[in-house]
């Protein structure tokens, strides 16, 4: 038990790094993992003979891999946190409408030509969407698991509907930008985009990680009040932090669903729901999962597949499997 336990921990730490290495090495122009240290040294001290490789590695591979890791990590930890505080294993930024709210906000900033408002608008509409979901599903001061999922579905399709409307109304040259971005892709990631989303995503992630004990106690439900927690206030703080983190990565990469649902469930199955481990482990598995998925998306076929499509194709059956085999982990 002790050995297996430590091995799991080690794997959780190592997995994202392995996936990251895999991700940067694969592509149209495969790089050998042994070349990575050479390239890093070359970048630091200059005078490398691998000019082409250096260009590919630092301007194309690295930003894309960093974005995939950041997106996966953010969705993993926010998904796990939201599931805990709402006592519901079926919620995530995606199913609560946060992702589509953020996507709408981002598309709106494109459509209006206010690119500098990308992040704030994504955040505002993400928050608006989740508040709407919670308001619709509220029954007697609590949230019934089913109504929460249904309300999320309603709000998601509402925002997707308005998003389509935006696409119809804007100038044709902006449409292709919006459409390409909605599909959820990481291939055009630049360092600028990362610099834009990283700070806000990190603020959300780190705060959620620091609040992990409160998040665990909130998952006890109403009695958390009797344990000294101001339920409404603290739950709202976590939701705002989750919106902040999730909307900033959605603003950069579009909607990539399923990661936020699969990572926490994979975690519950492998390391369990232990309050101190769930959130860090979901973060790690979320990053590893999306890195592997995106590595496949860009290299497994002759053409590039949007990772959002691949994740859905892999995610739906995988989630079905987890759901079938994992009733133990869900407490069912």
């Amino acid at each position: 038990m002790g050995f297996r336990f430590k091995l799991t921990h080690l794997l959780l730490v190592v997995a994202p790094f392995l996936a990251f290495t895999l991700h940067v090495c694969l592509g149209k122009y495969p790089l050998s993992p042994t070349l990575i240290p050479v390239l890093l040294v070359g970048k630091l001290f200059g005078g490398s003979e691998h000019v082409a490789e250096q260009l590919v590695f630092f301007n194309i591979r690295m930003p894309r891999a960093v974005m995939a890791a950041l997106f996966g990590a953010t969705m993993g930890i926010t998904g796990a946190a939201l599931q805990s505080i709402l006592k519901n294993p079926l919620v995530s930024p995606y199913t609560l409408g946060i992702s589509s709210g953020a996507a709408f906000g981002a598309a709106l900033s494109f459509a209006l030509g206010f690119n500098f408002l990308l992040e704030p608008l994504a955040f505002i509409f993400a928050l608006l969407a989740v508040i709407l979901t919670l308001a619709i599903s509220r029954v007697r001061g609590g949230f019934s698991p089913i109504s929460l999922v249904l309300a999320g579905l309603i709000v998601t399709s509402l925002f997707q509907g308005i998003l389509t409307l935006v696409q119809i109304l804007v100038e044709p040259e902006k449409v292709s930008a919006i459409v390409g971005w909605i599909a959820g892709r990481l291939n055009a990631t630049t360092w600028d985009q990362i610099l834009l989303s990283l700070p806000t995503a990190l603020v959300g992630i780190v705060s959620i990680a620091l609040l992990r004990w409160r998040i665990f106690v909130l998952s006890m439900g109403e009695e958390a009040r009797a344990l000294g927690i101001s339920i409404e206030k603290e739950r709202m703080i976590i939701i705002i932090l989750a919106c902040l983190a999730a909307s900033s990565v959605v603003a950069a990469a579009g909607i990539i669903g399923w990661v936020c649902l699969i990572a926490p469930h994979l975690t519950r199955l492998t390391v369990g729901s232990a309050p101190k481990r769930l959130l860090p482990a979901s973060l790690s598995l979320g990053a590893a999962f999306l890195l592997v998925a995106d590595a496949l998306a860009k290299s497994a076929w002759a053409y590039e597949m949007p990772v959002g499509v691949l994740v859905t194709l892999v995610g739906a059956p995988l989630f079905l499997y987890l759901m079938r085999s994992g009733t133990r982990a869900w407490g069912g």
Partner: protein, 283 residues
């Protein structure tokens, strides 16, 4: 420590549940709270630990209003064991118990070794230390009840509120749960226990509150409060209080005629429901 409740009234939407409740609770008492379904017992306990906030009335602990206390501060004084707890995630029993330490932790801290020790001792106090590593989704009803009591103990409160701790338990487990609570009271805390069985109240508690239609109709020493007359008015049913031959214990039984139970008028049930309101929410 003294708790004073003054003119408490509570309503869900427009439906009144508690009306003008006043009482005073002092140290080291085991108080039973008896009343028919829907009489407001659960609502009253939830008000005491501020899970619900009434519109009218005040609750003071040692002279301080509980609405003015921080949630953490209140949770250090009052522990609450809910009637129903439906586990969502398969947490380890010890983790569930250690969540009782939350009011003693800072906002960003996680429990220390010391907190885990206290939690383990709380599990020992209810005799469930062997459950520590089990997922709490796999416990039986009686075990889960004990674990929730342990969680409230880990909180180290001065007063423990237990909402029907004996419901759904078998004959023996009821006694075990009540015996455990009595032991805890003897060690220096107070407990208010809502209960459906007057005989449990007689056997274990020094004081009893009778609650009907959201009002307290009697409060005092258990053997003075529970008698044929009060039980009849509490439950709208004729009862007999019988003293057992070789003990001081009394038992309450429905009134017999010619060795048979009396037929109860079923229509009375509907009437009781109408006057006392919510039968599902307020147990």
């Amino acid at each position: 420590m003294i708790i004073i409740v003054e003119n408490l009234a509570f309503h869900y939407d427009s439906l009144p549940v508690l009306k003008d409740v006043s009482l005073k609770i002092t140290d080291r008492e085991l108080i039973s709270l008896l009343g028919p379904n829907g009489s407001g017992k659960t609502t009253f306990l939830k008000c005491l630990c501020s899970l619900l906030k009434p519109k009218i009335g005040c609750i003071y602990i040692d002279g301080q209003s509980i609405w003015k206390m921080k949630p953490t501060q209140l949770a250090q004084q009052i522990g609450y064991v809910p009637q129903i707890h439906s586990p969502t995630f398969p947490y380890k029993v010890l983790d569930v118990v250690v969540s009782g330490r939350t009011p003693h932790l800072g906002a960003l801290t996680t429990p220390s070794e010391k907190d885990y020790e206290i939690a383990y001792e709380a599990l020992e106090a209810v005799g469930c230390q062997e459950l520590a590593e089990r997922p709490y989704t796999q416990l039986s009803g009686g075990e889960l009840r004990m674990v929730l009591i342990a969680r409230a103990l880990a909180q180290q409160p001065k007063i423990l509120l237990l909402d029907e701790p004996t419901s759904h338990l078998d004959f023996k487990n009821k006694i075990i749960v009540m015996r455990t609570i009595k032991d805890l009271v003897e060690r220096g805390i107070s407990a208010i226990v809502s209960e459906h069985d007057p005989n449990i109240a007689i056997a274990f508690s020094n004081k009893t509150i009778l609650m009907k239609g959201g009002r307290i109709i009697a409060y005092g020493k258990t053997d003075e409060v529970i008698n044929e007359e009060t039980m009849r008015s509490l439950y709208d049913m004729d009862v007999e209080v019988i003293s057992l031959a070789n003990s001081q214990l009394k038992i309450v039984v429905p009134k017999m005629r010619n060795g048979h139970l009396q037929r109860l008028d079923i229509r009375r049930w509907a009437e009781v429901k109408d006057t006392s309101g919510q039968t599902t929410k307020a147990g």
